[in-house]
């Protein structure tokens, strides 16, 4: 098992050296990247919107519940705590974990299907660097669009929290907005999350692509690869979250 793990790391590294090469034709690369942005990014907006609004609402309710016991704590603290939770962890990490499921399985299954139906062999026979042609646009699309999704998620999470707080009578909407602005630090509350989102985007794109690109067998193996892509991406996100949190906040 340990040997397999290190072999896998090595194969992943070798694959990435094939991926990060100059594209044979920039025109085709741009076209593929735009298509991937649509498929992996724009098509994920819906789930990110729903998830972020309700996540913000839930965090506000939970925080209000925890702080309501102490009458000395001002209510805008609910908004401050919600902001910290949303911008530091929930938006960058939880949304990326969800996207690892949606986007990761998409990347892995599409590449896996191309592998078992000999489409990747067809590219190789033509002399195309298939790893570069197929995987690089997916990674670039992820790197470009994931931070935008995370920014949107932060905004919608905070908005959802303020709305839920107001509707349930926990904290007035305007007070939430004031709470969000209190001791707001751009690096801590925005840049930190964006740095994480870029790293997670690379993990989702590359790890899922590795799982799909290296499939051997048929439909069953494509399914297994898809599951592996999600599991590996989630594990890598959690591990890198630990490292990044330590590096960026300490």
């Amino acid at each position: 098992m340990i040997t397999n793990f290190f072999e896998g790391i090595g194969a992943y590294g070798v694959l990435m050296t094939k991926v990060f090469r100059k594209p044979d034709r920039w025109k085709l690369f741009y076209r593929s990247t735009i298509k991937e942005i649509q498929l992996l990014g724009i098509d994920s907006i819906g789930i990110v919107v729903i998830l972020s609004v309700f996540m913000g609402a839930i965090v506000t309710i939970q925080t209000a519940f925890q702080l309501s016991d102490d009458p000395l704590i001002p209510t805008y603290y609910i908004a401050m705590a919600t902001r910290e939770s949303i911008t530091l962890e929930f938006s960058p990490t939880v949304v990326s974990l969800i996207l690892a499921g949606k986007v990761g399985s998409n990347i892995s299954s599409s590449l896996g299907t191309m592998r078992v139906s000999e489409q990747i062999d067809a590219l190789e026979v033509m002399g195309v660097n298939s790893a570069n042609f197929l995987i690089l646009p997916k990674i670039v699309a992820q790197l470009f669009f994931n931070p935008l999704l995370i920014l949107m998620s932060m905004f919608l999470g905070l908005w959802g929290g303020a709305m839920a707080g107001d509707m349930l009578g926990l904290i007035a909407f305007q007070e939430s907005i004031s709470g969000y602005q209190l001791e707001f630090i751009v690096f801590e509350n925005v840049i930190y999350g964006l740095i994480k989102s870029v790293v997670y985007a690379f993990i989702i794109g590359s790890v899922s692509a590795y799982s799909g690109y290296t499939v051997k067998g048929g439909a069953v193996e494509v399914g297994i690869a898809s599951t592996n892509a999600v599991v590996r991406s989630c594990l890598a996100i959690i591990l890198s979250n630990y490292v990044l949190t330590d590096l960026l906040l300490n």
Binding site: D24, R25, K27, L28, T113, M114, S117, E118, Q119, D121, A122, E124, V125, M126, G127, V128
Partner: protein, 251 residues
Amino acid sequence: MIQVKGIHKSFEDNHVLKGVDVDFHRGETNLIIGSSGSGKTVFLKTILGLHQPDQGQIIYDGEVLSEMSKQRAKKLRQEIGMLFQGGALFDSMTVAQNIRFPLEMFSEMTEHQMDERVKFVMNRVRLEGADSKFPSEISGGMQKRVSIARAISMSPKYLFCDEPNSGLDPETAIVIDQLIHEITHEFGMTTIVNTHDMNSVLEIGDHVIFMKGGLKVWEGNSSEVLKSTNEDVEEYVFKSKLFKQVRQALR
């Protein structure tokens, strides 16, 4: 011309190719036949350079494949057309986009020239009117024709076909065989076809190689194969009732 000299290939303990020597001539349809597990597919993939041989040489028109520079090997790939067993069409692209892909990737043609070339090869394989269809929307026979059109769009010098008739009805199979044979002669290509289909052997086999256990055990042409006295060839060729009757009739 493609020359194969003493090719050996193993996968761990499995010695698949055990020293194959054969010459494939230009303008001929060369057929490789043999039972499953005889090493045909590995042989084809080794000639293509998808597998590295453990021993031996593959020579494309005087140039040894393993001694080519990376750039030359890449250039050679653009001189190769390949027809895969399942077609291997890009399912996210339409028929016309599939055929156009190699041109966009490697040629310096203008948009208009590419359109003209796509139109020409589509007409050549009788695919008129299918441009905007996706591979999933067309029949197996049409998929094979699209695959042939894509393979010849760059005017290759070498054409490789892996089981081109698998999954096709006998009538369509003959159409595909004849198409491969015609374009081989028309464009002067060196064509190598991997097949199980005896009809193909008799129909288009300018040069037939029979493989068994990783070795070439017989070599001839379509008219010689029915008269072969080689036991392995006889056993393979006359396995079916139809060919048993053919043998009786020949005798």
